[in-house]
């Protein structure tokens, strides 16, 4: 059984906060949703934190930090080893800056935002706004020309506005002349300032995600709304 973080429980739902997987400051790489300790010593579990991402998404920033992995190490005159410093793209969780009362306020903000969007996207289980689409062609684990590629992937980076998008969902894009559909084969977390970093189970409202398609999606333009209809 997972050890708990002291005797902390989620301020919203009462679930025990796990000892591991708690947000502990700016993250270089997204490694899944985390429980969050609030500024007043309270805590919220990852499920409740994800529900308010629609109004408090993870913040992308560039931060001056020490990192041996990025910049190596140096030895000082005393012989002590130090990590070099430099600028790194990081993700900051704005929920950690809230107190328990603040989190409750944000919860009600999130509920009203979600209900407003459910009216806008009536009949949809999820909706996202497209940013850009790039290709990823590989051959035998190395990049090659499109002619020789045996694995062609088209990756659309999006911001999820409402609901959630999961691998296997079919997204619909409505244009003036017709509606287009495409099957989402995989969903990755997209660090906005950087690269899509890892596959995730689902991308929920407020998340920046990369949707992987196995077929070309030339009908997705920047700003297009991708909808996952109920039952699809």
């Amino acid at each position: 059984m997972e050890k708990t973080q002291g005797n902390k429980v989620c301020a919203a739902c009462g679930r025990a906060i796990e000892e591991s997987g708690v947000y502990s400051g700016p993250m270089e790489i997204f490694d899944g949703p985390k429980d969050v300790l609030l500024s007043d010593g309270g805590a919220v579990c990852r499920e409740c934190a994800e529900k308010v991402r629609i109004v408090r998404p993870l913040k992308n920033s560039r931060m001056f930090l020490e990192s041996a992995a990025h910049f190596g190490t140096f030895e000082s005159k005393t012989g002590a080893k130090h990590d070099n410093r430099g600028w790194i793209n990081v993700l900051i969780d704005p929920i950690a800056e809230l107190d328990t009362e603040g989190f409750r306020r944000v919860q009600s903000e999130a509920e009203s935002a979600a209900s407003a969007l459910s009216e806008r996207f009536a009949g949809a289980r999820g909706a996202a706004e497209a940013d850009f689409t790039y290709r990823r062609f590989t051959k035998d684990r190395s990049m090659d020309t499109p002619l020789g590629a045996n694995e062609k992937r088209f990756v659309t980076c999006v911001k999820v506005l409402f609901g959630e998008i999961r691998p296997g969902d079919v997204v619909t894009v409505a244009h003036k002349e017709r509606e287009y559909t495409a099957k989402v084969e995989d969903v990755w977390y997209w660090n906005y300032l950087d690269i899509p970093v890892r596959p995730i189970e689902k991308a929920s409202a407020g998340t920046t995600a990369a949707l992987w398609f196995y077929n070309d999606v030339p009908f997705i333009y920047p700003g297009d709304i991708l909808m996952v209809k109920e039952g699809q």
């Binding site: 913040k59 992308n60 920033s61 560039r62 931060m63 001056f64 930090l65 020490e66 410093r85 430099g86 600028w87 940013d131 850009f132 689409t133 790039y134 290709r135 990823r136 062609f137 590989t138 190395s142 990049m143 090659d144 020309t145 499109p146 002619l147 990756v155 980076c157 911001k159 244009h175 003036k176 002349e177 906005y192 300032l193 950087d194 690269i195 899509p196 030339p218 009908f219 333009y221 920047p222 700003g223 297009d224």
Partner: protein
């Protein structure tokens, strides 16, 4: 690095339209591995993030112009002439503008307007290198796309992108240098961007005012 403290950020503010954090990126080149794009500073000092700028570019295209400070030809965003309120208003109408462009050009996937054509010989009996500079009207072009060129709809393949007005001679050597895997997998130009496509074709006959269409 002197002067910076651990935990300092490079945040310059928030996008006036969507609230994204604004963090300046080092370069604005075509070859951007999965980056979000550069922000632009608006007339009133507010910022517009790369994502919002990308949506606006179909109406407010990017241009390469000589920069007197940097003494080089640099990309300029015409959206920088807007203030925050105008940018928000234009963004709400950007999708309708894109749809009207698509209708105007017959709902093709992507359209490029030719503004300049430069031919360079590549050797005896070899097809010349043709560098075509212009603007993407809408849609996305990638290297190795096959596109219908000019009124006759002659099909030719884009073999590479060049920096618009880059001034480099296109030849076998430079092309070899431009052929890392990034060129294939992570290079693209979106609607409103100024771009230079390199073709290598004996029969391609393009002139300013022609369109290149991808379907």
């Amino acid at each position: 690095m002197a002067g910076y403290k651990i935990g300092d950020t490079r945040d310059l503010g928030y996008c006036a339209a969507c609230g994204n954090v604004i963090t300046i990126e080092a370069n604005n080149g075509i070859f951007r591995p999965q980056r979000c794009g550069n922000p632009v500073k608006l007339k009133d000092g507010e910022w517009l993030c790369g994502s919002c700028l990308r949506k606006l570019r179909v109406k407010y295209p990017q241009d390469y112009k000589p920069d007197p400070v940097q003494k080089a030809i640099m990309p300029f965003e015409s959206a920088a002439g807007l203030d925050a309120a105008e940018a928000r208003r234009e963004l709400s109408a950007a999708h309708d503008h894109l749809e009207s462009l698509r209708e105007k050009y017959g709902f093709h996937q992507a359209v490029f307007l030719v503004e300049d054509v430069k031919k360079e010989k590549s050797g005896f009996l070899k097809a010349p290198f043709i560098t075509v500079t212009g603007h993407v009207i809408y849609g996305t072009f990638y290297p190795y796309d096959e596109a219908a060129c000019g009124n006759a709809g002659y099909k030719a393949q884009i073999i590479a992108f060049e920096t618009p007005h880059g001034g480099l001679a296109v030849n076998e050597q430079t092309l070899r240098r431009w052929k890392p895997h990034d060129l294939i997998s992570y290079a693209w130009v979106d609607g409103g961007e100024e771009a230079a496509f390199v073709f290598r074709d004996k029969s391609l006959n393009l002139k300013p005012g022609d369109v290149i269409i991808k379907d």
